[in-house]
């Protein structure tokens, strides 16, 4: 990253926001990933050592949102919709066109939702940003999420688990478990042999 927070290899003219912590050993393919980023927290996004994000990854992070990428976490292209906290564990592998969301951004109660939608046109930029309770999402260490999958608010995916392509995960997933489907269901736990196998 240059002194003015540009990425030397970037096609996009924007910069990496001041409060994004990009470890020297981490890789961000393009600052376009921060096009929707509005976090005001110090470390609104923190890249761990060796973490990497590629084109298609979008940090749609609200003023009090915070996204932590663990060591060597690899994100091919996720939409990360965050108003509270999304933790992505060390060595997690996240495929393309994945959605991770810790908030619905608008109230679930219809009359309240109307009041929020009535406020949007007066904002610049025009964004939904109601003070609705967000529920942190935790993607455990060493989790693998397949393409097109969605993870809904409040979900925790346990260490080492695998989420099949195109799955929608609304309930937390135990560690070392394979889930798939829309809605996602447990396919099977990883067996002892798989769990003990070392590279």
């Amino acid at each position: 990253m240059t002194a003015d927070r540009k990425l030397e290899w970037d096609w996009y003219s924007g910069t990496v926001p001041e409060n994004v912590v990009l470890d020297d050993t981490a890789y961000c393919e393009t600052a376009f990933s921060f096009h929707f980023y509005r976090s005001r927290l110090p470390g609104g996004v923190e890249y761990g050592r060796g973490a990497s994000t590629y084109l298609g990854t979008m940090f749609d992070v609200g003023p009090r949102g915070r996204v932590i990428l663990g060591e060597c976490a690899l994100i091919h292209g996720a939409r990360i919709i965050c108003d509270a906290e999304i933790l992505i564990g060390d060595y997690a592998l996240i495929s393309w066109n994945v959605v991770l969301m810790d908030t619905y951004r608008v109230p679930l109660d219809a009359p309240e939702r109307r009041r929020e939608l009535e406020r949007i046109p007066a904002r610049e930029p025009r964004l939904a940003c109601a003070d609705v309770p967000a529920k942190p999402v935790r993607i455990g260490r060493n989790v693998w999420i397949g393409f097109d999958a969605c993870v809904l608010p409040g979900v925790t995916i346990g260490e080492g688990s695998v989420v099949g392509a195109k799955s929608v995960v609304r309930e937390s997933v135990p560690p070392f478990t394979i889930v798939a489907g829309n809605p996602a269901r447990v396919i099977r736990p990883l067996n002892a042999e798989e769990r003990s196998r070392h590279a």
């Binding site: 749609d60 939409r79 919709i81 066109n97 959605v99 969301m101 619905y104 608008v106 679930l108 109660d109 219809a110 939702r113 109307r114 939608l117 009535e118 949007i120 046109p121 025009r126 939904a128 097109d148 999958a149 969605c150 809904l152 195109k166 929608v168 609304r170 829309n182 809605p183």
Partner: protein, 195 residues
């Protein structure tokens, strides 16, 4: 919802941030459309093909209307990066939210009835000469007031989504959704009721 739509009669100018929208698009007061691809596949020749109410935010939405497509959207709607494919009719109420990368389609793109498919092949051919494509079976999509649709979802033709329903991210909606139902899955199934 019907009565409400009939009240959209005199629209003050909204705006498209990349130029002038097509002449048969009417935008209500303080409605803003962003994104340079908004009208790239807008082919409707209907008068008032697209009528959007007041105070709407249409951020990166694709309005892909076929020659006979007609779409109405109410007031205070908030859509981000949705693809709206309309060959016939899509009616969306007030206070509707549609999330990123979601597709709404009122058509299967070709008719199932063979005789209609002949007419469609002709219209799509070099001999079509501007001939309109056949009226694909009337299967409008109706999305009523206060519906929320999450990211990565798909809403197929003929579906009516009742007022206040909540469509979770990634759902594929193939059948009607009752008012205030919360649905998820492929195909979308009811998982609860909204407050």
């Amino acid at each position: 919802m019907k009565a409400k739509h009939e009240t959209i009669t005199a629209l003050a100018p909204g705006r498209w941030t990349h130029g002038a929208p097509p002449a048969n698009v009417r935008l209500g007061n303080d409605t803003v459309i962003t994104g340079d691809l908004a009208f790239k596949r807008f082919h409707s020749r209907e008068p008032d093909a697209l009528v959007i109410g007041a105070q709407c935010t249409m951020d990166g939405v694709h309005f892909d209307l076929g020659e006979k497509g007609r779409m109405t959207i109410g007031d205070f709607c908030y859509f981000t990066n949705a693809v709206l494919l309309c060959e016939l009719e899509v009616r969306i109420g007030n206070y509707v939210v549609i999330g990123w990368n979601t597709t709404v389609a009122d058509t299967d793109f070709h008719p199932l009835a063979p005789a209609e498919r002949v007419a469609d092949a002709l219209a799509c051919s070099p001999l079509g000469g501007g001939r309109p494509r056949p009226a694909i079976p009337k299967l409008p999509v109706l999305i009523e007031d206060d519906v929320w649709i999450g990211p990565n979802a798909t809403v197929l033709k003929g579906v009516r989504i009742g007022g206040g329903a909540w469509i979770e991210a990634g759902s594929l909606v193939t059948r009607d959704v009752p008012p205030r139902a919360r649905v998820l899955g492929n195909p979308a199934q009811i998982i609860g009721t909204m407050p």
